[in-house]
């Protein structure tokens, strides 16, 4: 029944949606499996998550192994390692890919140690080498070089994949996967950690490299009549505040919040740059940003070259107006009650 030499992906999801890295890994596994003439399996663990089997198929899975159990509802090292290790031992896939996320980085080395399987962490690429051996590359020595490695263990090989490197392939909504429900036998007494709660990131304290939204100001936002507008918009958006080198020189932000090649490299979903000219020293630190809004009163400012939305305006006017609209929307939502 079980197919040897399958390529597996351990699915990760949040709020009922597959994580981007899971989709990236499915695409990579698909390519490897096509080359090796094998199948892609996706392991889906949790409670009441069967609906995610469809998108797993759309992005490349031939079969979905569903482990549905109350003890898997929340990630714990013990439960996830035990459930996965038993499944891998039984079905012996040739490769298991795990996202290099907070949980993935906790799970993968524990799983590898239990299976006595080789593990390459934070990989960027995986290639099928001679004789079917897998070659993984990862960044090494403070990301100065790339290292190629192979697993010398026999049997299943493990790799964690750096999110955001591969890119998400095109989904095929007509694809279907065979769904296998795997019996889970976990002993609650053997789960030695207990998750007690989740603390949401505090935009004021969060490290900029972890922030989802950043509002950043530069020389154009300097001065007591201007900087409060940056903070006002950041508060309305729930964003962290950052700035350019000049903003730091003016004492508007501490060194830790300076963005650019000599400061932080950030990768938020949204980056708002106001009163920043867009020197390459600055934009070098925002290459990972997914969306950029630039606000500058000089239409020729180079920052507009890196922007998805280019707003030529005086930030003293447009930032407070935008913040006010956002606050009004939040209030009307609250009054609207439960929708």
């Amino acid at each position: 029944m079980s197919q040897a030499n399958e390529f597996w992906v351990v699915a990760e999801y949040k709020d009922g949606e597959l994580q981007e890295v899971t989709l990236e890994m499915l695409g990579e596994a698909r390519k490897l499996a096509d080359k090796a003439g094998s199948l892609v399996g996706a392991v889906l663990m949790g409670e009441g998550v069967a609906a995610l089997a469809d998108p797993l198929a759309h992005y490349g899975a031939d079969r979905v192994l569903l482990l549905d159990d109350a003890l898997l509802a929340q990630y714990t090292t013990d439960a996830y390692t035990t459930a996965l290790a038993e499944l891998i031992q039984e079905q012996a896939p040739s490769l298991v890919l795990i996202g290099a996320t907070a949980n993935g980085k906790d799970l993968a080395p524990r799983l590898a140690a239990r299976l006595r399987a080789g593990l390459a962490t934070n990989c960027m690429t995986i290639k099928l080498g001679e004789g079917g051996a897998l070659q993984m590359t990862r960044l090494d020595y403070g990301a100065q070089f790339q290292r190629t490695m192979v697993c010398s263990s026999t049997g299943t090989q493990l790799a964690t994949i750096q999110p955001g490197v591969i890119g998400v392939g095109k989904p095929d909504t007509t694809r279907q996967a065979e769904l296998t429900t795997v019996e889970v036998k976990l002993d609650p007494n053997k789960i030695r950690t207990k998750a007690l709660g989740y603390l949401k990131p505090d935009p004021e304290k969060i490290d900029l490299t972890e922030a989802d939204i950043i509002v950043s100001g530069g020389r154009g936002a300097g001065g007591p009549d201007r900087w409060p507008a940056i903070e006002e918009l950041a508060a309305a958006l729930g964003a962290a505040v950052g700035g350019s080198r000049v903003a730091m020189d003016l004492g508007l932000i501490p060194w830790k919040r300076m963005i650019g090649i000599s400061g932080k490299s950030v990768a938020p979903k949204l980056y708002v740059a106001a009163g920043i000219s867009g020197a390459s020293h600055h934009t070098g630190g925002i290459r990972g940003a997914k969306l950029v809004i630039a606000i500058n009163n000089d239409p020729a400012a180079p920052i507009f070259q890196s922007a998805d939305l280019k707003v030529v305006a005086d930030l003293r006017e447009v930032l407070p107006a935008t913040a006010k609209r956002l606050r009004d929307m939040a209030v009307s939502d609250e009054q609207g009650g439960q929708q």
Binding site: P109, Q144, L196, Y198, L199, K269, K290, L291, P299, T322
Partner: protein, 299 residues
């Protein structure tokens, strides 16, 4: 309470390296080794825990060649009580697995309550050793710990652990346990002269293969599960991108856009917005909404 801290001698990666074409390794000349920053925080956290309790012992341990002894000496000045150096030619070319395996064997007879490792090493950053130790000793593990307190009940610790995107998980863990400590959990102290002097009298015990009581095929290169086959300049892969077609589900298209796989059409080029502040504010909000970035879409 007895705490073991595993510390690593790592390359200072702020210095540029060169590759030796023949050996495919780094040119050894001019390399600088330091105590791994996260491990330094782990030592500090252990010493603080001991100080808070008023009693206990902090033991540091490293596996590495003779010069790695320097990091042990440094940990002793930071307040650790004694040190173990796993030193034997048989340990050469260990990978994360064979390192963790050997460390676990050295830790086992110490009967400690907590084992700390740094959450990541500066040079290779595989974040594996802690988990290998935990598995070898059949202990629970918590990784990327950013806050630590002794639990309300005896025999447990209450922790915060780093999740993705700035989130934290509050977690309770029974003891003994292995914790990997995140750099930044504390601000490690600067040792004073008396601390330096005191450290000179502390013991560094060398543990070789025989003393460890394992076989040579279980450690070092022979015990490793991975092998390095190449080192070279970074060749970034091309990230998959494509323009969504009209037949694609709009929600899917939006998600792809947000994940940066495609350019939001129309705005990438040209399109400079000008006008009255209120009009511009409206346009900015529209852009945020289109991309699912307004606060309520984000909670």
């Amino acid at each position: 309470m007895r705490i073991v801290v595993c510390a690593k001698h790592v390359l200072d990666t702020s210095i540029p390296f060169e590759i030796d074409e023949e050996s495919k390794g780094l040119v050894e000349d001019g390399l600088v080794y330091i105590l791994n920053p996260a491990d330094r925080c782990a030592v500090e956290e252990a010493v603080r825990l001991k100080e808070r309790q008023g009693s206990g012992e902090v033991i540091v341990m490293t596996l590495g060649p003779a010069p790695a002894q320097e990091v042990l000496r440094e940990c002793l000045t930071l307040g650790a009580d004694r040190a173990l150096h796993l030193l034997d030619r048989a340990f050469d070319d260990s990978d994360a697995y064979s390192t963790g395996f050997a460390l676990a064997h050295a830790i086992e007879p110490l009967e400690c309550d907590l084992i700390f490792c740094g959450s990541q090493s500066l040079d290779e950053g595989c974040s594996q050793v802690g988990a290998v130790i935990a598995e070898s000793l059949d202990l629970p593990q918590v990784s990327a710990v950013t806050q630590l307190e002794l639990g309300a009940t005896q025999g447990s610790v209450s922790l915060q652990r780093k999740l993705d995107r700035g989130g934290r998980e509050v977690i309770e863990c029974s003891l003994p346990a292995v914790l990997t400590i995140e750099a930044g959990i504390n601000e490690p102290r600067y040792p004073s002269l008396p601390m330096f002097m005191e450290a000179l009298h502390k013991e560094i015990q060398v543990v070789d293969l025989d003393a460890l009581g394992v076989r040579s095929q279980e450690v070092g290169r022979r015990g490793a599960l991975t092998k390095h086959i190449g080192l070279g300049p970074i060749r970034p892969r091309t990230k998959i991108t494509y323009t969504p077609e009209s037949d694609i589900d709009p929600i899917e298209a939006l998600r792809l856009m947000m994940s940066g796989q495609t350019a939001p059409s129309g705005q990438q080029s040209g399109d400079i917005l000008k006008g009255e502040p209120d009009y511009l504010a409206q346009q900015i909000i529209r852009f945020l909404q289109q991309n699912g970035m307004t606060p309520e879409a984000n909670v």
